[in-house]
């Protein structure tokens, strides 16, 4: 059995190489009742599905990274703004034409004000980017 293993294994490898070669594979598939073109189309379809899935994942990742980078920029911008002693929120809201659901700014704490401003700048930067892309 020992030597038989090696010999038959070698022969089987050669058989596999032969039937799956450029010259033989088409007739081999046909002989076994398969349409080679149909199989290849199925394979290509599968490959395209995976490529589309990969492209979509890449795009999602790109946008997530872009959004994270814009949010960071917005946070830095707000930080700079709030650390300026001359900064006046009411004037700023009027100047930037920020639409507020409530007008009593004095009742809001710093975190709330910060969140409003960060959202405002995030939207602003996103719009700037869209304009540039047009």
């Amino acid at each position: 059995m020992g030597s038989g293993y090696n010999k038959v294994d070698k022969l089987f490898d050669e058989y596999l190489n032969f039937v799956s070669s450029n010259e033989e594979s088409e007739s081999f598939l046909k002989e076994n009742g398969f349409d080679p073109d149909e199989l290849v189309n199925e394979g290509i379809k599968r490959a395209r599905q995976i490529q589309m899935q990969l492209a979509s994942q890449k795009t999602e990742k790109h946008y997530a990274e872009l959004k994270a980078s814009l949010l960071q920029r917005a946070k830095e911008h707000v930080e700079k703004l709030l650390s300026d002693v001359s900064f006046n929120l009411e004037n700023f809201i009027k100047q930037e034409n920020i639409n507020m659901a409530f007008k009593n700014f004095e009742e809001q704490n710093e975190k709330e004000i910060r969140d409003i401003l960060e959202r405002h700048f995030l939207l602003k930067f996103e719009n700037e980017l869209k304009e540039k892309g047009k």
Binding site: Y5, F12, F34
Partner: protein, 183 residues
Amino acid sequence: MRNLYAFSLALFNRLYKTEVNERGKSFKDYVHDAIEKHLLQEDRYDPAKSPLEYHLKYHVIRRAIYNDLPAGVKKLHKETAVSQLQESNLIPERQSTPARMTLAAVGYDQALILKEVEEKVNNDAVMESIYLAVCEDTFDFSDRQEICNAYTIAPEEFDKGIKRFRTVLKRVFQEFKIKGIDG
């Protein structure tokens, strides 16, 4: 891609009696899985080591088909490989052809296959030489020049002879029915 399907079909049909194995996979699924693995870069392909087609056939498809064989068959394969090592005191497998599975483990009668091949190459001097070079000597089918030198065969005769030899192999392996796995 056509070659991958042919490879997968040839291997699958020699190992399973059914069109779908116990994992619910057909030969086509192994090709699709290989394509997916490659596109997702999960197959660790290194172009410097081997051509893509060879890599997908032997490193991805064959490995996956063998990995999905029932545990009992894999155990038998291990035992056969170990006993062969002890008998021959040689490394049984080439590093370049991974995931090799002894056909004995899936119920092939090795001696009968050899007998069939021997009978079919008899009376053809070139085929006989190729058979001796590969099965009795240490040559591989790819050692064209070495076999020609060692067995005094003209290269063009070797090319014709190996074509006939491959046709013989195809006939023999196509005709052989396996005894072992139901899927």
